[in-house]
């Protein structure tokens, strides 16, 4: 399930719902990204999506994750709009029979979401606002998946 929301969400509520009733799955990995205050340098994070297009592009990568790792199910919830420090920005959960698959699929999805997913990010701080381009570290993270074969 892939959801974009402009409202605050609780990652724990999503994890509870995602775990419920799974008697054959065994392994649930999750990742929660929180907006950082950067010691006052960022007061608000603003994320723009292209509704319809953004979900569809994320959906393509979710299908890749299902095919590449032995994943039974996954959930992606992404916040858009203005986000305050400490608020959840993204939540990803993956369910698999074995924990290696669950961890790797979650890691893979996060690398994509943080570096290539169709979002545009603006940081508002005391000195004004600026648009953020992808970080070199994000590109390094995602390129891991081109080289590595699934373990």
């Amino acid at each position: 399930m892939i959801t974009l929301t402009d409202q605050p969400f609780d990652p724990g509520d999503l994890l509870s719902a995602f775990c419920a009733g799974r008697i054959e799955v065994g392994a649930i990995a999750s990742f929660t990204g929180l907006a950082r205050a950067e010691a006052g340098a960022t007061t608000t994070l603003e994320l723009e999506a292209y509704p319809g297009f953004t979900e569809a592009e994320i959906g393509k990568i979710a299908e890749q994750a299902r095919a590449r790792f032995a994943v039974d199910d996954l959930m992606i919830c992404h916040r858009v709009g203005k986000i305050g420090p400490g608020e959840p920005v993204v939540f990803v959960a993956t369910a698999a029979r074995h924990r290696r698959a669950a961890f790797e699929a979650c890691d893979f999805l996060m690398d994509y979401l943080k570096s290539k997913a169709p979002f545009w990010k603006k940081e508002h701080g005391p000195d004004g606002a600026r648009w953020i381009e992808p970080r070199a570290e994000d590109h390094a993270d995602i390129s891991r998946w081109d080289k590595e074969t699934p373990r």
Partner: protein
């Protein structure tokens, strides 16, 4: 009457986020029309990493624009 959408820094630069454009039959014609009105925006739309989506699918090069098309200009995506 195609819908044109701008995202990220492009809409800040243009001062608009969405508008209707009647006169452009192709993406190249649309680029020319927008550049004539606002040369700075025209340059930004042609800048590195800016992609075009026609009806929510990325297109490379030129393409015809139908009367009910949606054309979006997408600056480099930052991820979430």
């Amino acid at each position: 009457m195609a819908r044109v959408l701008l995202f990220g820094r492009l809409s800040d630069l243009a001062g608009w986020r969405e508008r209707e454009v009647a006169e452009a039959g192709s993406i190249s014609a649309l680029r020319a029309l927008l550049a004539a009105e606002d040369p700075q925006l025209g340059a930004a739309l042609a800048g590195p990493g800016v992609q075009v989506a026609l009806d929510q699918a990325i297109v490379r090069g030129d393409a015809a624009i139908g009367p009910k098309a949606e054309v979006a200009f997408l600056p480099p995506m930052s991820g979430g």
